[in-house]
């Protein structure tokens, strides 16, 4: 989002514009994350992380794949789209130097701490929320790789202190991502309204 001009000051309305790669990344992330989470919950139900077979199961409607084998097919097919999308986007962010001005920085932290300007603070929160999503998605890939190939990537399992901790981390990425994504969309509405939303999704 470019400068989110709210209409209070009656400036000529400047439409927020997103670069095409950012929109593609956002869409592919949106869809692939949905598939990863639903197929992941299907896999989860085979042996719930908390409580095992007698533990709490996720309602079937949230699962994708119908049974464990189907859930795994979806999960291990979509993981490529999900991960490669983050990879090319990483190069894009480095190449275009977007990382220097499109993500939360010291300025945003400072605004949150000292600014009296409510709009500036909202904007800082907004930047912070979507910035935090990136390491969370990377953590999902890292922990998932450790669960998918624990013999070849035994050091990933070790780095979490064992299988249980790895499983819990990988699973907890779901509620954390959903929460953060929810906050992200709310803050997006707050700082940019429909115009910002449209600029990222449709325009």
């Amino acid at each position: 989002m470019r400068s989110p001009n709210q209409t209070l000051t009656q400036k000529p309305i400047q439409k927020p514009i997103q670069d095409l790669p950012a929109k593609v990344f956002h869409w592919v992330s949106f869809v692939s994350l949905f598939l990863m989470i639903t197929s992941g919950l299907q896999i989860y139900n085979a042996n719930p992380v908390f409580g095992g077979r007698s533990g709490i199961h996720i309602p079937a409607i949230f699962g994708l794949g119908g049974w464990l084998a189907g859930g795994r097919h979806w999960h291990f097919a979509t993981m490529w789209i999900f991960a490669l999308n983050l990879l090319w986007y990483g190069f894009y962010v480095l190449w275009t130097r977007r990382w220097r001005h499109r993500y939360a920085s010291g300025k945003d932290v400072k605004a949150l701490l000292v600014s009296q300007n409510e709009k500036r603070k909202n904007y800082a929160w907004h930047r912070l929320a979507y910035t935090l999503l990136i390491p969370l998605l990377l953590l999902s890939i890292f922990s998932g790789l450790g669960m998918y190939k624990p013999a070849q990537f035994y050091w990933i399992v070790d780095s979490f202190g064992g299988w249980e901790a790895l499983r819990i981390t990988h699973f907890m990425a779901v509620p954390l991502t959903l929460t953060l994504a929810g906050i992200h969309s709310q803050l997006g509405r707050k700082v940019g309204g429909d115009r910002l939303l449209d600029s990222m999704f449709w325009e």
Partner: protein, 247 residues
């Protein structure tokens, strides 16, 4: 048969709490949701799995290091309570005294071995993580004969690429030869320092850190070496689970 997968089949997927009357509308919603997920399930196995699995198998075998041992755990790390017993048809009764392991197929020296024959071969012990497709894992000590030692005695022909395992209960599995020849792939008759018990696969079962649990057949009675995979590739695989299942 052995091991892990979730017992559910696509057509038995809708489960209701039959102690309660389900209100009609809720029933229809649930039924609709169930049909939807089952539909997705078949679609996944037909298309999504069909597209991605060959590729994932390529990647899996590419990153697999056939002769590289997976780091093991100390004895103190063993988790005796975590190894869940899974089987598709209960535990078969096998008399250890009359038990024979057959090794045949494309070999120059077919074998029929008794347990005492097997126990005279070098014993290998390992403490590894046993990982189930369902998501749980357990650190287990296994003791037994390296499968590659048995294969060597059977003198396989050069074109052998796959190995079938047949179990006393009708369970069957097939593996790629690289994983079979891995130094930590054992025909095990000990678990956690004790002689293997029937529910865990006695007298002889597969144990390895490089494959998911459903590949680790219990009650193995026949090992068949072959240059080609048949239409049947394994009990769970033929129902839709992935064949390679490498860790």
């Amino acid at each position: 048969m052995s091991q892990e997968p979730e017992q559910k089949q696509p057509d038995s997927d809708i489960e209701f709490d039959d102690t309660d009357l389900v209100p009609r509308r809720r029933f229809l919603t649930l039924a609709g949701a169930g049909l939807l997920t089952i539909g997705f399930g078949s679609f996944a196995e037909g298309l999504v799995g069909g597209l991605s699995e060959p590729f994932n198998q390529q990647v899996g075998s590419l990153i697999f290091q056939p002769q590289q041992p997976v780091p093991e755990f100390p004895i103190s790390a063993i988790e005796p309570d975590k190894l869940i017993i899974n089987s598709f048809r209960g535990t078969p009764a096998i008399a250890t005294e009359t038990y024979r392991l057959t090794i045949d197929g494309e070999v120059n020296n077919p074998l029929s071995l008794s347990m005492s024959n097997l126990q005279k071969l070098p014993l290998t012990s390992m403490v590894i993580r046993h990982v189930c497709v369902e998501g749980w894992a357990a650190i287990v000590q296994w003791g037994g004969v390296r499968l590659r030692d048995l294969i060597a005695i059977a003198k396989p022909s050069a074109q052998v690429k796959y190995v079938y395992f047949y179990s006393a209960d009708g369970y069957y599995e097939s593996w790629d030869i690289d994983s079979v020849m891995h130094p930590q792939t054992l025909m095990a008759y000990q678990k956690n320092g004790q002689i293997l018990t029937p529910e865990y696969g006695a007298p002889l079962r597969l144990a390895s850190p490089v494959k998911l649990g459903y590949k680790l057949s219990k009650w193995v009675t026949r090992i068949q070496l072959t240059s080609e995979l048949g239409k049947k590739r394994g009990y769970w695989e033929d129902l839709g689970y992935e064949w390679y299942a490498g860790l």
